[in-house]
Structures are given as structure tokens and as C-alpha cells.
Symmetry: D3
Subunit: 151 residues, 6 copies
């Protein structure tokens, strides 16, 4: 699953859809354990009944981690994750929701300081089983340019 993809190879507008993944109660328990975030919104079903959303909601960092993880299928030795912009929680995610991510190449930009790489922006749209967007973000990748790497 290694595949070399250069900056030059990315085309704005290209899109792919990941496999789906059901978020389980176990995922919340494990994520609380991993992050130390035991806020009652995620861990106290009783308290949640008294809130607007009436049930436990999935940690934002879990929705993000799974939404991004679903896209991690092809290892591109020419690219490197640089960061994320405009990460927004659009809708709450509940136990039992099934998520998938639609990835769209949304931008390509030169790197300000390094001529041999460029910055590719993948727009991630994480959707639930109803097709509703629950999270969006822009994933920034630093990717080698072809010309440069050949000399």
C-alpha cells in the first residue's frame, strides 16, 4: 500500500470516499481512557438525560481521530502531514452512528520557503449514516514536487 504521489500528481477537485465505521460505546470508553477526558457529556448516561442531547455524545477528538484515520489507506512516502485548519464540529455524534469521510483535494499552494515542496489541502467531510456532515477540516500535506526531486 505504498504509493508515491507527487505534488504535481494531485488534482484539485479529485475526491474519494472511505469505508464506513460504526462508533461504539467501547470506542468512547477507550478514547476517554486514552485522553483522560471523562467529562459527563461522554461518560455519564444519567446526567446526559438531563441535557439537550439526551444521550452520551462522542468526544470531538474521537470523531476527528476516526474521521482522519479512515483516510489513512495509502502510504505516500512523498507526503507528510503538516497540520489542520478550520476544524469544525457541525453535528453531535452519538453511540451507534456510522461515519465515513469524503476527501476532496481543495487547494494546492507553493511553500513559502522551500521550492521543492508544495502544500496540498485535503478537505475532509466526515458524514454520518444519514449523509449529514458531522465534522469538517482541511488537512495540510507537505508534498515533494516532481521536478525538484529529479534534479
Amino acid at each position: 500500500m505504498f504509493q508515491e504521489i507527487y505534488y504535481d500528481d494531485y488534482r484539485i477537485g479529485d475526491t474519494r470516499t472511505t469505508l464506513g465505521r460504526t462508533i461504539t460505546e467501547a470506542d468512547i470508553v477507550l478514547h476517554a481512557g486514552q485522553t483522560g477526558d471523562f467529562f459527563p457529556h461522554h461518560m455519564d448516561a444519567q446526567w446526559c438525560k438531563t441535557q439537550d442531547f439526551k444521550q452520551r455524545i462522542v468526544h470531538g477528538t474521537l470523531t476527528f481521530s476516526v474521521g482522519v484515520g479512515l483516510t489513512a489507506v495509502v502510504v505516500n512516502p512523498r507526503g507528510m502531514s503538516y497540520g489542520y485548519d478550520r476544524l469544525r464540529f457541525i453535528k453531535p455524534v452519538f453511540i451507534g452512528d456510522t461515519l465515513h469521510t469524503v476527501v476532496t483535494i481543495s487547494e494546492k499552494n507553493d511553500h513559502k520557503k522551500r521550492q521543492n515542496v508544495g502544500i496540498v489541502t485535503e478537505h475532509l467531510d466526515v458524514k454520518n449514516q444519514n449523509g449529514d456532515t458531522v465534522l469538517v477540516c482541511d488537512h495540510l500535506l507537505i508534498v515533494d514536487k516532481k521536478a525538484t526531486s529529479h534534479g
Copy 2:
């Protein structure tokens, strides 16, 4: 650990430092399991020896999730996480590194559409045991305004 903090109570420049947390090999294994990201950068110690960083590196989403999780100490019923901006991976995190997060109130802004809430920006600076910053991001919170909520 519930504490009501209104938009009006946040003061730009206020800062707090979280407890520390050592990132273990077990954390990587669990995070790969949670996200499905089994990229060799995180899971294949042998392959990593052939790369620049020479050893397994921690998933970006794990550093982020733990860095944010460390800040989840006080439940503020007046605030809600809205999203993150300018999330950047500054330095790689390795197994055995100990992280803590410095939180600074960096911005306060009115909400464009809703008068009774404002947007508070917490700047998160996740540092390792040497004091080097490994990740930064701006956490956006929608917080109730006092005046409004009293009438």
C-alpha cells in the same frame, strides 16, 4: 469539578499549565486500534530505522487528542467546543516523551449571529519534557454571555 465560567469571565492573556503525561508504546497501539491508522511510521519499528526519525513516531491525532485531553479538567456548563484553527505539528513525538499543555486565552470575539454568546479562543501549546513545543492549535469555544443569560 463543574464551574460556571461566562464569556465575560475569560481574560485575554490568562494562562494555565496542565499535568504531564508520558506517551507510551501502549498508547500508540491503542490509538492505531482506535483509528485504524496502522501506517509504518507508528507501527513498524524495523522500517522506521530506515527513515530520518529512526524510530516510531506518535500519531498526530494522538498527540492532539492527549494534548487536548489534558486540558479537560473543569466542566464549564456555559461553554461548548466549537472547533480548532491552525493546528500544526511542530516536532515529532516519540515513545517515552512526556507532554503537557500550556493553555492561554488568546482571543475573544462576538458571535456573528447570536448576541447572547461569544467565541473564546484558547491557544494550546503542547510541549515535551525538554520544553519544546510539539503541537499548537487554537481551540474555539462558544460561551454564554452573562448579561444575556440573566435577561
Copy 3:
């Protein structure tokens, strides 16, 4: 969340209530995995149907660990856990129950051999969502005395 609390600062009768925590099926699975206790009371839903309690019950050591863990909010560098007395399982805990712990300072005693410390007893009352007590115990802490530590 570090806070220095001396023996002299504890007042008998002082009480605090922790956040709540819903015990999930995942918690039982993880606890069985951690302890090696795969007794059918916890792991065999089919067999449990033939027993008085009709459903899987939570490990006693899990109820205890969570009940105690809920109290671990403030790190007191002046105190140290010494042990527990009169730990009793009052009612069974089932999957889906939400627990919280009421902590009461119930006793203060001099240490028999060391003048500069005392023993503080925290009475832990772990309750479910109906307010029924499911587990009680007395947590013994060895805590520095003020006078002594100043000279």
C-alpha cells in the same frame, strides 16, 4: 490540580461528591482482561440468565477501582494512600448503571510511630443512579502535619 492539604486542614464531616460514570459492557471486558477474572458472573450472559441476578454483574474490583478513581481529582503532595478498611459490596452493579462517589472525612488519628504525620480516613460511599449505595470503604491516608513540616 496540585493542592497542598495538610493533616491539620482536614475537617471531620467535610464531604464532596464526584462526577458520575456509567459502567459499560466494555468496562467489564477490559477489567476481565486486566485482572484475568473471567468468571461467568461477569462474562457469560447465557449462564447469568439462570442465576438470581439474571444478568452479568460488574466485578467487585471494578466497582471499587472506579469508585476510588472518581475521587482522584486533586493531587495532594502532602498525602499518601495507605490502605482501605471495611470494604463491602452492598448491592450488585449491572451494565449501564451510573456510579458516583460521596467522600466524607470520617476520622483523624495520630500515627502510632511517627509524630509528623497523621492518618485521615475518607469514607467512600459509591452510589448508583437510584441513590442506592453499592459499595462502601474507608480510605486511609497518611498526611503530613503542618507544625512538623515547618520545623
Copy 4:
């Protein structure tokens, strides 16, 4: 739970039945995390509704691992697991099914090259709560012979 059992002690036809174990959603989540097998058959409840089996099915390697694990009760220092033959998935296993294993000594054979050991075959029949077989396999053990080990 150490018990020395020599090749000579095994009797063809001897049978034992293990404790039962309910397979939970958490078990699937953990097994996906352990193996990296996030196929939608196991992880995507939404997609499974469109398939013949209508719901998530348990990984074959999980059913096998648990079915075998249930038999790991007595440590026999005279025996060693050598491999498995004719492992077959007979029926799908679903979340909530309770498995147990019936172990039968089905064969004893001399080792082709080593006189002091023999090969004992344990036939494993993993059954669900309805008594239906879900998986079978033949577990091959290399076991010390008595005579040889005494001289």
C-alpha cells in the same frame, strides 16, 4: 494450575467442556484494533444491514482466538502447541452470542523424527448458546512420552 500430563496419559475420546464467554461489541472493536482488520463486515453496522447476515459478524480470528483461549486452563509443562489443522468457520458469530468449547482427544500419533515425543490431537468444537457449532479445528500438541523422559 500447573499439571504434568504425558503423551501416555491422554486417552482418545476423553472430552471436556470449557466455561462460556459472551462475545461483545467491545471484543470486536478490540480485535479490529489488534489485527488491523477493519473490514465493514465487522465495523460498519450500516453496510451490514445491506448484506445477507444483516448485522456485524465477529472476525474469524476472534472466534478462533477466544475458542482456543477458553481451553487454556491447565498449564502442561510436558506439552507444546504445534499447530492447527482443518480450521473451519461453520456458522457466523454475532455480537451477543455466548461461546464455549468442547475439547475431545481425537488422535495420538508418533512423531516422525523424535522418539521421545508424540503428537496429540485435540478436536475443538466451538459452540454458541443454541448448541450450534460455529467453528471447528484440530489442535496439534507435541507431548513428552513418559518412558523416554524417565530414561
Copy 5:
């Protein structure tokens, strides 16, 4: 592994020794995740270097849960766990320590209110690889009496 043992069958002074179990870094990570106890004593290797014990120590509730779990080998349908007395943390447990438990029947007492059962006390002595005791406690079991249960 079901075995009926009546109150009358227990003999004071009888003793058994469990299998051993190495406590790993992963165990601490999982236990923190299960209990929500992320105190730096267990999770912050950097901070621990500044303390007397110089390294991360195992949660008391983990040592207890594993020490007890190691004894959970035979299911006795005639007995029921009732509680624990005099649980004491004798020595710190570190990552990599290997624990086992020595169980001794130390007391038998009539039940104050119910004639058909008695209380059996198992004294648990949890030891590390050097034979040093790290934790002790008295496990109280309510066990059916033979005479009574037959008429």
C-alpha cells in the same frame, strides 16, 4: 472449573499459590483509562524522576485488582465475595515487577444473622519477584454450610 466448596470444607491454615503476572506499562495505561486516575505518580515519568521513588508506580487499585484476579481460578457456586478488610499497600510496585498471590484460609466465623452460611476469611499476600510482600488484605466470603443446604 466449577467446584462446590462448602463452609465446612474450608480448613484454617490451608494455603495455595497463584500463577505469576508481570505488570507492564500497558497495564498502567489501561488502568488509568479504566479508573480515570491519571495522577502523575502513574502517568508522568518525567515528574516521577523528581520524587523519592524515581519512577512511575503502579496504581494501588491495579495491584489490588490483579492480586485478587490471580486467585479467581475456581468458581465456587457455594460462595460469594462479601468484602475486604485491612487492605494495606506495603511496598510500591513498579513497571516490570512480577506479582503472585499466596492465599491462606485464616478465619472461619458464623454469620451473625443467617444460620445456613458462614464467613470464610482468605488472607491474600501479594508478593513481587523478590518474595517481598507488596499488598495484603483479608477477603471475606459468605459460604453455604453443608448441613443447612441439605436440610
Copy 6:
């Protein structure tokens, strides 16, 4: 990652190599927890020092589950796992070993009873970082035939 591959498409001798995966101490801990197999070979570092292999060895079911899991990259809706033959543990696997699997199409056979499917055998050769084979098995897949499925 869905890809339709018919029986007719498989070619004997075709081979592919998976990504690598380092087996960690955490993996053993989680696998013991999942299977209930807490044999000292895997869990008691102290006891292992007294044995031939001198250190903890990885559960056979874990090596198998990971070795197979590494091959689970492409979902083929035309195929279904049917079972495994000749599963053999060739060499012990230790904590820190890095495994990968070489998959070779080794056999194609008609199904005895159903004309529209055939049985494809994938030979799995699980190797460690030294290129030594640690486990082999034959994975049997029932796969739709092209002609039949079109009419």
C-alpha cells in the same frame, strides 16, 4: 478499497507482501485480555527466565491473528473466508519482533457441491524482521466464478 475479484482472476503463483507490524508488550497484554489465556509463557517474565526461550513469547493465536490481519487490505465482495489448513508455529515470536506476511496464491479447486464457486488457497508465510518464517498456514477462500455469476 472494495475490489471485485472473481475465482477466474486469481492466478496461481501470484504473490504480495503486506506492511510490517511490530509486536509490542501491549499487544500481548491485550491479547491475553481478549482470549483469557494468561499462561506464564506470555505473562510471567520471571518464570520465562527459567525456561529455554528466556523471555515472554507471543501467543500463537496473536501471531496468527496479526499475520492474517495484515492481509486484510482489499475487501473482495466475491470472496468469503472458509477456513485454514496446515497452520504451523515455526519459530517463537518475541516482544519487539516485526512481522509481515507474504501471500501466495497456491491452489485453485472446484467446489465439490456448488458449481458457481471455487476454492482459492492463499498460502500465508508470516516472517519476522530477519526474514525467518514464524508461522505458515493455508487460507481457504470460497470465491464466485465469473461465468456463473453472469448467468
